[in-house]
Amino acid sequence: MISLRQLSKKYGSFTAVDAIDLEVPKGELFGFLGPNGAGKTTSLRMIAGILRPTSGEITVAGVDLLKDPIGAKQRLGFIPDRPFIYEKLTGSEFLRFVAGLYEQEGPEVEHRARELLALFDLEDWRDELVESYSHGMRQKLIISSAFVHRPEVIVVDEPMVGLDPKAAKILKDLFREYTRRGNTIMMSTHTLEVAEAMCDRVAIIAHGTIRACGTMAELRRSAEAGTEGLEQIFLRLTGENAARELVEVLNA
C-alpha cells in the first residue's frame, strides 16, 4: 500500500533521510521509531506530499506520488504532530472544509463528522471556534479530519501527543479496527509501549537510515536481544547512550 524506493531528503549538505526502502502492505499498522532528529517526521511528510524528496520514489495505494500527487493524496489522510488549524472555524466547519478538499459532501459526510466528534467527546464543542479548544481537543479534531473522507492510507506523526488516556485508548481501538477493514496506517511514535502493543511491524530509523525492520520477534533476532523489550532493542539498534550516569548528571 505504501512503497518507498531509495527515498532521500537533503537540506543543503545535511542528509535527513538517506536512501530508504520500505514496503507497507494493505491492512498493516506500521510503526516508525527513532530518536529525535532521526528523519521520521521528514519521511512521513514526504509520504503525505508536503515535502518533495531529493531523490527516490513514493507509491501510495499504487499511485506514484510524484507523478500523480492529486491521485495519491486522494487516497491518503495525514495527521501532523502539531495541531495547527484554522482558529476561526468551528469544529464542524473544519471537518466540512476538509471533506470539501476531497470533493465530498452531503448527509453521509455530515453523519460521519458527527460520529467522529462524538467518538472523541467533541460533540458539545462542534459549533465552537477552534481557538477555544485545548491542545488535546485540537489533536482529536485533526484525527477526526483524517478519517472524515475515508482514506485508504493514514500517515500519522506522533498520534498520542496531547491525548488523555481515554482518547488514547479510543485512538488505539480506532486504528486497530481501521486496519482490520483492510486499510493501512503508518505512524511514528516515541512511545515504545504503544508501538509494541499496536504495530504489526516496526522500522527503527536513526540518522536517516533504517537500522532494522520487522515484527517484534524479527527485531529481537536481528538485535540478538533474546527476550528483551522494545526499549532495549531500540537503544541497541540506534546506538543511543542510555547508560549515562544519572547520578553524575544530577550532581553536576
Binding site: 508536503i50 500527487p69 495525514f78 495547527f84 484554522y86 472544509f97 465530498q104 459549533d127 465552537e128 471556534l129
Partner: protein, 567 residues
C-alpha cells in the same frame, strides 16, 4: 533556608530583554539569500524618503522665515500639528503593542513563572512596548527636526536639545498606553480586548483622518478666507493643546530656535514622564497579576454567522464543492477576525476623504476648461489606483502568508494549488472591484465628465483592479511571512514594499499607454481634429494586455512557488 534567602535571584532588565536583542541580532546576521540587495534597497528607499521629507520641510520653513510677522507663528503651528499627530499615533500604537508585549507574548509564561521582580518586569516590558511602538515616529522625526534645525540655524547643541525633549515625549504615551491596556484587560479578557482595541484604534485613526480633512487645513494657507487678519493671527497664536507633551516639545524647540531658550517645557516634560512612570508602575503592581491571569482565558467560544453559512452554502453551490468550501473558509476567517475586518472602517474613511477631495476641487468658474475637467478624471485613475493598491496590500497580499501554519492540511490534500489561489483571488477581487467601480462612478458623476471619459475610466479601473489583485496575491506568495501571526504586519514587510513598487509601475504603465488616445480624443473635441482609430486601438489595447499579463503571470509564478513550499 538562610543561604537561599541570602541569594535571592534578581534578574536585571537587561537580562530579561536579552533574548529580544539576541533574536534581533541573529535576524540581522542571518545568512539569507538576497539579504544584501534587500538591505541596500530598503536603505536607499529610506534615505530617499528622508531627503524628500527634509527638503520639503526645509523649503517650507525657509519660506516661512521670509514671511514678516506671521512666519514664526506658521512654523510653530506646523510643528505643533506634526507633534500632536505623532502623539496620537504613539498613544494608539502603544495601547495596541502593550497588549502583545504585556499579555499575549510567548515569553510571558517563562518570565511570570520565573523569580522576576515586578518592577523589573514592568520596566522591561514598557521598554519593549515603547521601542516597538515608537521607532517609526523616531525615524520620521529625524528629518523633521533636522529641517527645523538647519532652517533656523539651531546650532550644534540643537540635536542634544531634541533628544532631551523627545525621550520624555516618547515615554509619556508608552506609560499611558500600557496603563490603558492594563485597565482594559482587567475589564475584558485579553483576547476580547484585542478585538475591542483593534476596532477602537481603527475608529480613532479614521476619526482623526476624517476630522483633519473635514476642517480643511488648506484654508490656513489662504488668509483671504478669514474675516480679518486679526482673526487669522489669533487662530495661529492660540495653543492647540497647552497640557499635552506635544505642546511642550513645540515650545522648547521653538524657544531655542528663536534664541530665547526656555527651560520650563523641558522641566514639564521630564517631571511628567517621571510621574507617569511611577503611577504606571503602581498601577502595574496593583492590577497586572489579575489582568495577566485573565489574559490566559481562552478566546471566543461561539461562532457568529450560522445563517450566513447556510446562505453562503446555497449562494456558492454552483462553484462546486471544493471551490465553495474554499470561498466560505476565506469569508469566515476574514469576518471572524476583528483585526482584519475592522480595517474596513479605515478603508471607508479613506474613500470618504478621497471623494471629499474630488468634491472640493475648484473645477468650476473662470479659466476651467473642458480639457481640464476631462483630464482630471483620467489623472484620478492614478490616485484611485494607489488607493486600490494599498487596499490590496492590506487584504490580499497577506492571504497566502496567513495559511502558513495550516499549509500541511492544504498540501497533504488532493486540492490543486491553483484552486486555492483562484479562490483567494476572487474573494479579494470581487469587493475591491465593486469599490473601485463605485469610486469611479461617484467621482465621474461629481466631475460631470463626458461619456467617452466615463467609459475609459470605468474600463481602466476595472482592469487595473483585477491586475493589482493578481499582483498582490503573486507578490504575497513570492514573499511569504509564514511565521507572522499578525496580518497587519505582513504588508509592511519587504515583499509588501516590492508589491507597492510594482503597483506604481503598473499604474504608470497603464496611464502612459492610455495618455496618447485620451489626448487625441480631447484634441478632437476641442479643435475638431480627427481621432486616429489605430492610436486608440494601440493605446487601449496595450493597456489591456498589460493588465491581463499583470494578473495572470504573478498568479502562475505564485502557483509554482506555492507548490515548491516545504512546510
Amino acid at each position: 533556608m538562610p543561604e537561599a534567602e541570602a541569594r535571592r535571584p534578581d534578574p536585571s532588565i537587561s537580562l530579561i530583554l536579552r533574548p529580544k536583542w539576541l533574536t534581533a541580532r541573529a535576524r540581522a546576521l542571518a545568512n539569507e539569500r538576497g539579504r544584501g540587495a534587500r538591505f541596500f534597497l530598503l536603505s536607499l528607499i529610506g534615505m530617499l524618503f528622508w531627503v524628500f521629507i527634509y527638503t520639503l520641510l526645509y523649503k517650507l520653513l525657509v519660506y516661512f522665515r521670509g514671511v514678516p510677522d506671521l512666519g514664526p507663528f506658521l512654523a510653530g503651528k506646523l510643528l505643533g500639528m506634526i507633534l500632536i499627530g505623532f502623539f496620537s499615533i504613539l498613544l494608539l500604537s502603544n495601547v495596541i503593542t502593550a497588549l502583545s508585549s504585556f499579555f499575549l507574548a510567548r515569553d510571558l509564561d517563562l518570565l511570570v513563572a520565573a523569580p522576576v521582580d515586578w518592577l523589573k518586569l514592568y520596566g522591561a516590558k514598557l521598554l519593549e512596548t515603547g521601542v516597538n511602538s515608537s521607532w517609526m515616529v523616531v525615524l520620521l522625526a529625524v528629518p523633521m527636526f533636522a529641517a527645523f534645525g538647519s532652517a533656523y540655524h539651531g546650532g550644534w547643541l540643537f540635536p542634544l536639545l531634541v533628544i532631551g525633549v523627545f525621550v520624555p515625549f516618547l515615554v509619556v504615551p508608552a506609560v499611558i498606553g500600557s496603563a490603558l491596556t492594563l485597565i482594559l484587560v482587567n475589564v475584558f479578557p485579553a483576547r476580547r480586548t484585542r478585538d475591542i482595541l483593534s476596532v477602537i484604534a481603527v475608529l480613532a485613526a479614521g476619526g482623526v483622518v476624517l476630522l483633519f480633512r473635514v476642517v480643511r487645513p488648506e484654508r490656513l494657507a489662504r488668509p483671504e478666507g478669514f474675516r480679518s487678519l486679526v482673526e487669522f493671527v489669533t487662530v495661529l497664536r492660540t495653543p492647540t493643546s497647552p497640557f499635552l507633551p506635544s505642546e511642550w516639545v513645540q515650545r522648547a524647540v521653538l524657544s531655542w530656535l528663536q534664541e530665547r531658550p526656555s527651560l520650563l517645557p523641558v522641566y514639564l516634560l521630564w517631571t511628567t514622564a517621571a510621574a507617569a512612570f511611577v503611577l504606571g508602575a503602581l498601577l502595574h503592581w496593583k492590577l497586572y497579576p489579575i489582568g495577566f491571569s485573565k489574559a490566559q482565558e481562552s478566546g471566543e467560544r461561539w461562532a457568529r454567522g450560522g445563517g450566513f453559512g447556510r446562505l453562503g452554502h446555497k449562494l456558492f453551490s454552483p462553484l462546486g464543492i471544493l471551490r465553495r468550501e474554499l470561498v466560505l473558509k476565506e469569508l469566515r476567517l476574514f469576518f471572524r477576525d476583528t483585526t482584519q475586518w475592522s480595517q474596513l472602517i479605515l478603508l471607508t474613511v479613506l474613500v470618504i476623504v478621497y471623494v471629499f477631495n474630488i468634491k472640493y476641487l475648484p473645477l468650476k468658474g473662470e479659466g476651467v476648461t473642458f480639457f481640464l475637467v476631462n483630464v482630471i478624471p483620467f489623472l484620478n485613475l492614478v490616485l484611485a489606483g494607489f488607493v486600490l493598491a494599498s487596499i490590496a496590500a492590506r487584504f490580499i497580499f497577506p492571504s497566502v502568508s496567513l495559511e502558513g501554519r495550516t499549509l500541511w492540511l492544504l498540501r497533504s490534500s488532493p486540492m490543486p494549488v491553483r484552486q486555492l489561489l483562484w479562490a483567494k483571488f476572487w474573494v479579494g477581487t470581487t469587493p475591491l472591484l465593486i469599490l473601485a467601480l463605485g469610486i469611479v462612478f461617484v467621482t465621474d458623476w461629481l466631475l460631470q465628465v463626458s461619456d467617452f471619459m466615463f467609459a475609459v475610466s470605468v474600463m481602466t479601473i476595472a482592469m487595473m483592479t483585477i491586475a493589482l489583485c493578481g499582483m498582490a496575491l503573486g507578490f504575497g506568495t513570492l514573499f511569504p511571512q509564514f511565521e507572522t501571526e499578525n496580518a497587519a504586519q505582513i504588508p509592511t514587510s519587504f515583499g509588501g514594499l516590492m508589491f507597492m513598487i510594482a503597483s506604481v509601475g503598473l499604474i504608470a504603465g497603464v496611464v502612459v499607454l492610455e495618455a496618447r488616445p485620451v489626448y487625441g480624443y480631447l484634441s478632437a473635441r476641442l479643435y475638431g481634429t480627427q481621432t486616429s482609430p489605430a492610436e486608440m486601438l494601440f493605446g487601449f489595447g496595450a493597456a489591456a494586455v498589460l493588465c491581463v499579463v499583470a494578473t495572470i503571470v504573478p498568479i502562475q509564478i505564485a502557483k509554482r512557488r506555492l507548490e515548491a513550499v516545504e512546510r
